[in-house]
């Protein structure tokens, strides 16, 4: 029933779901929800360029994705600081132009080179079943590293989310911590590309965190709940996509996470109506 491949993918995605749930909480509180969407879309040209430059190794492709995602963030901040355009325009512009360029490269790779064998499409909608066991090992390792950093700096990250002035006053390097947090978010987005896809990775980050936000006011509980919801969505996605054959994993995970969100909204509403909550 459960062969070794599916099992390893399941383990990898559970860790991925939990990590993106944890980081999603901070992304949400730092109002980076749409920035992470832009980041995920902006990763596409990097993947294609890395493929064109040298080979198909996953680590190399993801490195390209990471660099071009960060370049996308750089462009957004350049536009918002150095022109009269506002953040929403900068986000939409960067997202669509980077993605358009990625599509140009993607179609180019398909037509110039070795045809459809490139398999780069899996980064768009996600195909968890295509992840190999040794890739799962690296994925898990990277996620554990991220979780470790967040655990070490939990107090600092909390402070820069809620009270930046105080954080500055007690001498924390606020900008450095901000950059570190953004780097970790970029890292998890890139790690998730293979299973959730560039188009829907933002939901894996944001939806569980928002669901948790509906249910609790305490940060520790919120992070834990968000990780739990991310895990449930990811595990359910792998399970259903193994069950029903070649379903793209990304959309299934997102719909499961959205289902949990809907339940949380209903729960809040009924509690509110019953008067238990105020």
């Amino acid at each position: 029933m459960l062969d070794i491949n599916t099992l390893s993918v399941l383990i990898g995605l559970i860790v991925l779901g939990a990590t993106s749930g944890v980081l999603g909480t901070f992304a949400l509180l730092r109002r980076k929800a749409l920035l992470s969407d832009t980041l995920a879309h902006a990763a596409l040209p990097g993947i294609c360029l890395a493929y064109l430059i040298g080979g198909k190794q996953l680590g190399w492709l993801l490195m390209g994705a990471f660099i071009s995602g960060l370049a996308g963030i750089g462009v957004v901040s350049l536009i918002t600081h150095r022109s009269r355009l506002k953040e929403d325009a900068a986000l939409a512009l960067t997202l669509s132009v980077f993605f358009g360029f990625g599509i140009v490269l993607l179609t180019g790779i398909q037509r110039w080179g070795d045809g459809h064998q490139s398999g780069l499409d899996r980064f768009l909608f996600g195909q968890a079943a295509a992840i190999l066991p040794h890739e799962v090992a690296y994925l898990t390792l990277a996620c554990l590293l991220i979780l470790g950093i967040v655990a070490l700096l939990f107090k600092e990250f909390t402070l820069i989310c809620f009270d930046r002035d105080y954080a500055r006053a007690v001498g924390l390097p606020v900008r450095l911590l901000d950059a570190l947090l953004m780097g970790l978010i970029a890292l998890i987005v890139v790690l998730g590309l293979q299973s959730a896809g560039a188009l829907l990775m933002v939901a894996l980050l944001i939806t569980p965190a928002t669901t948790a936000r509906l249910l609790t006011q305490r940060l520790g509980v919120m992070v834990a709940l968000s990780a739990l919801f991310g895990t449930l969505a990811a595990a359910g996605g792998v399970w259903m996509s193994a069950l029903y054959g070649r379903l793209p994993t990304g959309p299934v995970m997102v719909l499961l996470a959205s289902g949990l969100f809907l339940l949380a909204i209903l729960f809040r509403y009924t509690r509110h109506r019953l008067g238990a909550y105020r």
Partner: protein
């Protein structure tokens, strides 16, 4: 050998998308709702799939209306969620559009046999096929179907802009004043959203669900760098849209790559040039000012 007739139809289709996109995109940009354009373009996908499925054809009208309605519904949901406690507008947007989009992608990949749609079309449209899908009534060949649909939607967008220009202007720049003089700003908002949804749905087949954003946002953003006056900004963004379409088509033809993707890329390059030019002008002016001050 270049087939001039189909080349012209492809450029015309792209130009029509760029024109309608610029008309509504300028308002989105000035209202700081550019990402809402992104959200709508993702959210209409399940509506489009359902309309394809139910009507079994690419018949234009039911698809436009059905999918447009779902797009409008998604903006309503985003609005409602944003007003809840503990919800931020950006999170509301991200959750809503990703859920709708995921549903659409799942429907397409599960029922791709029954629905004449594939994920490539979602990603970058089928602008190259525009000249081959003809509208034939009886013995009359009336030209590509997409051109008629896009021209119709452009008429709607144009009439909307001209008819509600004052209302749009007032509720965009000074909503409080607009309400005082009796403009129903909520109504104007939802009408704008309806027209955006219509433009997005009509453009879907030609440029795909994601790259339509490049037509909505990039030319108006470039125009905003160049001009401060609204009528001028709209005209410049239409012109920039057409320029990107023509140059993008030529590039794509030379390199044999996605036409839509290359139009979006050229649009981005034009923006980059404009940004650089405005920065340079500001530099020159400040240096010039210093020199004059010293003299």
């Amino acid at each position: 050998m270049i087939d001039w007739q189909s080349t012209l139809w492809v450029i015309a289709a792209g130009g029509l998308v760029a024109t309608s996109g610029a008309l509504v995109g300028c308002w989105l940009l000035l209202r700081r709702m550019a990402m809402l354009g992104d959200a709508i373009s993702h959210a209409v996908l399940p509506g489009i799939v359902l309309a394809f499925w139910l009507t079994g054809s690419r018949a234009a009208l039911p698809m436009l209306l059905g999918a447009g309605l779902i797009g409008l519904m998604s903006t309503g949901i985003i609005q409602w969620l944003s007003q809840q406690r503990f919800m931020r507008p950006d999170a509301a947007m991200g959750i809503t559009f990703s859920a709708f989009f995921a549903l659409g992608v799942l429907l397409i990949s599960r029922y791709s046999g029954q629905v004449d749609l594939d994920l490539d079309c979602v990603l970058y449209g089928e602008i190259a096929y525009v000249p081959w899908d003809l509208w034939i009534v009886g013995d009359w060949v009336l030209g590509p179907r997409a051109i008629w649909t896009l021209a119709g939607v452009l008429m709607v967008a144009l009439l909307f802009t001209l008819w509600l220009y004052k209302e749009l202007l007032a509720s965009t720049f000074d909503p409080v004043y607009a309400q005082v003089i009796g403009i129903k700003t909520r109504m104007v908002y939802y009408m704008l959203m309806a027209v955006v949804a219509l433009v997005v749905v009509a453009s879907f087949e030609v440029v795909g669900a994601i790259l339509v954003l490049a037509f909505l946002v990039v030319p108006p953003a470039t125009a905003l760098l160049i001009s401060r006056r609204l009528p001028m900004m709209i005209l410049i963004s239409v012109a920039l849209g057409w320029l990107a379409v023509v140059l993008g088509y030529m590039t794509a033809h030379m390199l044999d790559v996605s036409i839509t993707g290359s139009m979006a890329t050229v649009s981005g390059v034009l923006f980059g040039v404009a940004l650089l030019a405005t920065r340079l002008r500001a530099k020159i002016r400040s240096v010039g000012g210093e020199l004059i001050g010293r003299a």
